[in-house]
Symmetry: C2
Subunit: 490 residues, 2 copies
């Protein structure tokens, strides 16, 4: 622990990988493509989960749980869906192992072959809409507003901790509605919930928008997303919300009696965020000394480190430190007092910087005399010595200040790394520098594909809140109604 | 909804199944052996989870997450473990589907065969100890106190909602220690945490004990358990805590430098509870009208139902009902005001009885005049009319009373259905009546097996807190040091 990590300017990718490991967030498992989320990483994820879960419940959603396995044939029921999800997935073909004939291990029992193979869920629309068929008969059964927290598997050849793993943790909301408008409203509402969470808890500004046809969810009518900018100038999709129209209702024959006494197919939405958000959280704020966590998501918001020469000095320091800890806890903060004698203060300082604890308090013998403490902010590295009681009063505000500051810093970074271009030449130059680029596009898949092939940039979204601005596609010169957002992306 | 369920005296098994479905707790999914946990059932499970999670954290444990998949060869590393768990499991053999040649669906792509098959975790000792090998070098890294909330799969031929399903949700604690005694202490501590939770939150008395050799966890040195008695006289194992000795440390080569500078294998424990607890919760308390929930785990502790003839009467009732709801919420209770006009009060009464809401408040026009409410307890069916403000004051105590009452009722039932026998003839008669039976056993697997074959009863545990009492085995007449606990079991 407390080992240095590489500089992000030298090798961003290596910096990220080493940071994830050294800060004890996650590591690769022996199972290809699957990660182990370590206790510290999981504690951050739990805070994210708890907050999002509260927001889902405030907007009227309940949690439920649907099966891990999906019968292979279900995936084929929705034509686009099967194209998008059936390809790279974990397939269960047998239900038993037996001792090998040489008695050295176990082998698959060929007699225990499943009649129909099961796929480990890559997403759960199919199995959930199959249940909804039995749950929905009338408009009185609607809306149905459910969410599940679950693991999903999408077989990935090239994986990176949190950003792209074969198994990942996520939540998936699945709602059913009586009218098209209600379903669209729900789609937008959940997009806004995600944006609220990412901006106000993860301290990460996002652009809300609509995906192009080629980038949308397999089975959706429209996919909305939030896009965030990482410090290396690449975009990361931080959440998606899909208006499914009646696609899954038709695929699974989910009809209902309307208030007017007719029969109609149900309208649907689905929306999800995943442990990928952990990747965004790490990449947006952190520096060469390690993680920088937003106070609202930090497992420990404050750490107190005693500074002493001999063990005989520790009890007096501990007495004061414990009081400070208790006073801060009484204010609702999470505080850790690290009085381990097995590590030196310098080691602890480095470790808590690496792990991104927002505020560090140090107390030494001189502080005892003066009734002071030293307070260090993780985000700015500023240190100040101040009277003990003043510190206790100010720390809640300081945490808010840190939360605001890192948001503002991320927003400034994004502003500095966002440009508008008019020509494709300009675009090709700018894209090499990274960042978000707004440019006109003619709306065709061909042009989108050409740009992607030639520059590795994709249309991240058609922004929702941009002004209409007629212009000409930078590639073909055809008319365009508004600029769209381009970037290279994770 | 609000349909009658069969009587439990007529057909206990049918009563259980119908109750689970009609109270909207869970249902079978189209995937054989897997269940769908519906929102109301999941809300109860969430309360159980939250409470247990708090108890785990209070005892120093952190959550983490390990992979869903386990390489087949890992299961074989611990000899007993593979015998117990490798047999009935879901095996992933391929990682891709492709379009079928007739284009009507998807088929397994034979070219995407895994080099080594992956097993969907039936329990995670192997994959976790494989990680622990890298995490533990010295006594300073110990103890390691982790838990994970996860889904696991054990292929089951005969399944029942919550009680036995191929996929189920659970938590599994996995700890590593420097000394044998510390690991044993941890095993016992977690057994006590489980007993505390089941008795004080689920309102279900348990017997703590040690499993016999033939019933212990595959890979453990000792398995401790808590056993509860259901209303049909069958036992249900409600949680297990395993002392693993150095078995998994040896299988995965997890050694550490001791404080004294030697090298030793690490000592381990594991412990788990699952959605099976939902089955116990349902079976211990419920009656022919439906579920009876302990107030501490009820998603809604109080429901308020307005009684009115015309819609014009509703606003005045709602005004008062909302105030009562807010007053009770301010006391920390979860309260629902059901003012839906689509259902009649009688329907609502039946529905909330079916779903086990501990207290129902009814308010009609006469109550408005008199400033009274009618309060109905779900457990005793008692109804009283009392002044509104008195009701608000008394309800928190009434909830405690209900919690105590249903615990006491379950304890009385167990006392009445527990007996001591001295002869095998007596045993054979008593076992037909159901219940717990204490009897002497000679300690051999042969006798245990004979009893099981002849009576379908198993040794639930060797109770921890029973007095030593020398006697003779009821079957063989050989000497025995204490009576053990027998029952037929789920």
């Amino acid at each position: 622990m407390a080992k240095a990590i590489p500089s992000k300017s030298e090798d961003y990718s290596l910096w990220y990988n080493e940071l994830v490991k050294k800060a004890e967030l996650a590591e690769n498992s022996p199972v290809r493509g699957c990660m182990v989320i370590k206790p510290y990483g999981f504690a951050i994820w739990e805070k994210m989960q708890r907050q999002m879960d509260d927001m889902f419940k405030e907007t009227g959603h309940s949690n439920a749980y649907f099966p891990l396995f999906i019968p292979k044939s279900y995936l084929s029921r929705e034509a686009d869906h099967v194209e998008g999800f059936a390809k790279e997935c974990a397939v269960v073909t047998h239900y038993r192992l037996k001792n090998s004939s040489d008695q050295t291990g176990v082998v698959v029992d060929p007699e225990a072959k499943l009649e129909e193979e099961l796929v480990v869920r890559p997403t759960s629309e199919t199995v959930i809409w199959d249940s909804y068929k039995n749950w929905i008969q009338s408009y009185r059964d609607l809306p149905l507003l459910l969410n599940q927290w679950a693991n999903v598997v999408r077989w990935e050849m090239r994986t990176r901790l949190f950003l792209r793993t074969s198994e990942f943790l996520w939540q998936e909301g699945h709602t059913a509605h009586a009218t098209k408008q209600e379903a669209i409203d729900e789609t937008i509402q959940m997009l806004n919930v995600y944006a609220d969470f990412v901006e106000n808890y993860m301290a990460t500004p996002v652009i809300k928008g609509l995906k192009t046809e080629s980038e949308k969810f397999a089975g959706a009518v429209d996919t909305y997303c939030i896009e965030a900018l990482m410090q290396d100038g690449k975009a990361l999709q931080a959440g998606t919300s899909h208006f499914l129209g009646q696609n899954f209702a038709k695929a699974f024959d989910v009809r209902f009696a309307t208030r007017e006494g007719h029969e109609d197919f149900v309208w649907g939405t689905s929306w999800g965020t995943s442990t990928r958000l952990m990747g965004a959280l790490i990449m947006v704020h952190s520096d060469d000394d390690g993680l920088i966590l937003p106070p609202k998501l930090a497992p420990d918001q404050v750490v107190i480190v005693p500074i002493y020469k001999g063990l005989d000095q520790l009890p007096a320091i501990s007495e004061v430190a414990s009081k400070i800890r208790d006073s801060l806890k009484a204010k609702g903060l999470t505080v850790k007092y690290d009085d381990r004698d097995s590590q030196k203060p310098g080691w602890k300082f480095a470790q808590y910087e690496l792990q991104g604890v927002p505020i560090r308090i140090a107390i030494g013998p001189r502080d005892l005399e003066n009734e002071t403490v030293e307070i260090a902010r993780r985000d700015t590295k500023e240190k100040v010595v101040m009277p003990r009681n003043e510190a206790i009063d100010k720390i809640p505000d300081l945490l808010d200040e840190i939360q605001d500051n890192i948001y503002q810093k991320a927003l400034n970074f994004r502003t500095e790394n966002t440009c508008h271009v008019e020509t494709y030449d300009e675009f090709r130059n700018k894209i090499e520098e990274g960042g978000f680029i707004y440019a006109h596009w003619d709306g065709t898949e061909e042009t989108e594909e050409k740009i992607k092939e030639e520059t590795k940039a994709t249309i991240r979204c058609i922004p929702l809140n941009s002004p209409e601005e007629s212009g000409k596609c930078m590639v073909t010169g055809k008319p365009s109604k508004q600029k769209v957002l381009f970037a290279r992306a994770y």
